[in-house]
Symmetry: C2
Subunit: 283 residues, 2 copies
């Protein structure tokens, strides 16, 4: 496995691979790799000649009071995992190279970026969209892989790739969960064992939503109310939002017809967790 840190070196490597007709699969990450990332890497491995994984803790997607400084950085462990998954290139640029002095250009995917997490983390998706475009231009992937746990992020990236005519196919892979149901996340390691147990209110509330749909409930308001009661049972929880929305444009729904996204963000102690699932009437 090649480890590349320079932007030019990465760009040149990809350019040469494309010239040879090799298909590049790309998994952008902030490191602290877990089973969710590994499932993305495996999907990329299956569809492409080469797999590039980036590890870059992107400063522009963190708010001033967020966890940029404490975000887990375990590069050697990440590199070992990538090597085991037969990743071809681990691309790990520096923040200084990615955002040199005088950087001024940002992407905005209107509407989608302001909803759900966007209203609690202003500027977050602007940072995500901007770094993804940069990485696409440097890595030049044919296929890029994102996790459904970050459903809003996936929708925004799919939208921007389409709107801006990026020659990249955007794939989404299912959320990977721990045995007890908690969605895998690099931030789970912030949780003490006691808080880790409380965090189960997230998947439990989603499971309840699915059960209610099966029982014939069609009102987002009622479903959200019931979910909220589960969240409240965790004494260190604080709800940012629970939202039942259209799957494409993230507009809140008044009534569930065919399918809907139910997404939530909850603080467990000082850790903000997100999760979601798709509700389908025919499941």
């Amino acid at each position: 496995m090649k480890i590349i840190t320079g932007l030019q070196a990465m760009s040149k490597f990809s350019f040469e691979q494309k010239r040879k007709g090799n298909k590049i699969g790309f998994v952008p990450t902030m490191g602290a790799l877990h089973g969710g990332h590994l499932s993305l890497i495996r999907s990329a491995r299956k569809d492409n000649d080469l797999v590039v994984v980036s590890v870059f803790v992107n400063p522009t997607q963190f708010g001033p009071k967020e966890d940029l400084k404490t975000y887990p950085r375990v590069f050697l462990k990440d590199a070992t995992l990538c090597r085991e998954e037969e990743v071809d290139v681990l691309f790990s640029p520096s923040a200084q190279d990615m955002y040199p002095k005088g950087f001024k250009t940002y992407l905005n995917v209107e509407d989608l970026s302001e909803k759900l997490c966007g209203s609690f983390r202003p500027g977050h998706f602007k940072g995500v969209a901007t770094v993804v475009v940069k990485l696409f231009n440097i890595v030049k992937p044919d296929n890029a892989y994102f996790g459904m746990k970050d459903a809003q992020q996936f929708l925004i990236i799919k939208r921007l790739a389409f709107d801006l005519n990026f020659p990249v196919k955007i794939h989404v892979c299912p959320t990977i969960r721990e045995k007890d149901g908690l969605a895998m996340s690099s931030r789970n390691r912030y949780l003490s064992p006691a808080l880790r147990r409380q965090a189960l209110v997230l998947p439990k509330s989603l499971q309840l939503a699915k059960r209610l749909i099966h029982l014939g409930e069609r009102s987002p308001k009622k479903i959200i109310g019931r979910m909220r009661r589960i969240i409240c049972t965790a004494k260190d929880s604080r709800l940012d939002y629970i939202s039942v929305t259209d799957l494409d444009n993230l507009e809140p729904l008044k009534k569930i017809k065919d399918e809907a996204l139910v997404a939530l963000a909850v603080w467990i102690g000082r850790t903000r967790l997100i999760d979601n699932c798709i509700l389908r009437l025919k499941d």
Copy 2:
């Protein structure tokens, strides 16, 4: 010469050319081609294996009260000129294909986009930046060519290509002028003969600025004052701005040291004209 209107067809053509190792030179235009455009095409012709010219009147860079509807559209004449210049591909997409329903993604180059013309045409450079990124992704040029008459546009595009790591080299070519000094522009054809004569106050005021620098004047305020008096001699003129700025960041200068950009926008009747020149102490 190939005429391509489909986005997919253009993208595929460029992809195949790149696979063959051919260098693509790109001249994005809104059509109504004049000597300025032709000079860009000739530069592209010299440096590249293939030349692609786009003709697309980009709706997102026009304000609601601007001249989108009346902007000159003379496609057959443009195509003839391109053929004469041995352009390989004339790419002319439709607005519907470029901005399909649900389009949400925009670029913003902060600071640079708000200055000079940006403060009189809010959203203009957001539209320019967005369409240029789209065209870069579709045409996949190695080199792209822009005119110095649109100095601010050039600086913004250079900045965004650098910031977002587009693998495109951005070139700027000198302003091409009519014999009497008026900078060539597709909008010049809006001018009646009488207004056409009045429009000469733009190049004349820039020539005065150069003369003043040669005579030792270093104060932007004084230079702008003298230029303004020339503009006022045209009875149908209305000044948007005259600005003496830093060449890179477009910040207004208090004093001219080595070099400066002097840029102006003036309405002559109902036609808004822009022009600029670089002031160099050592010229």
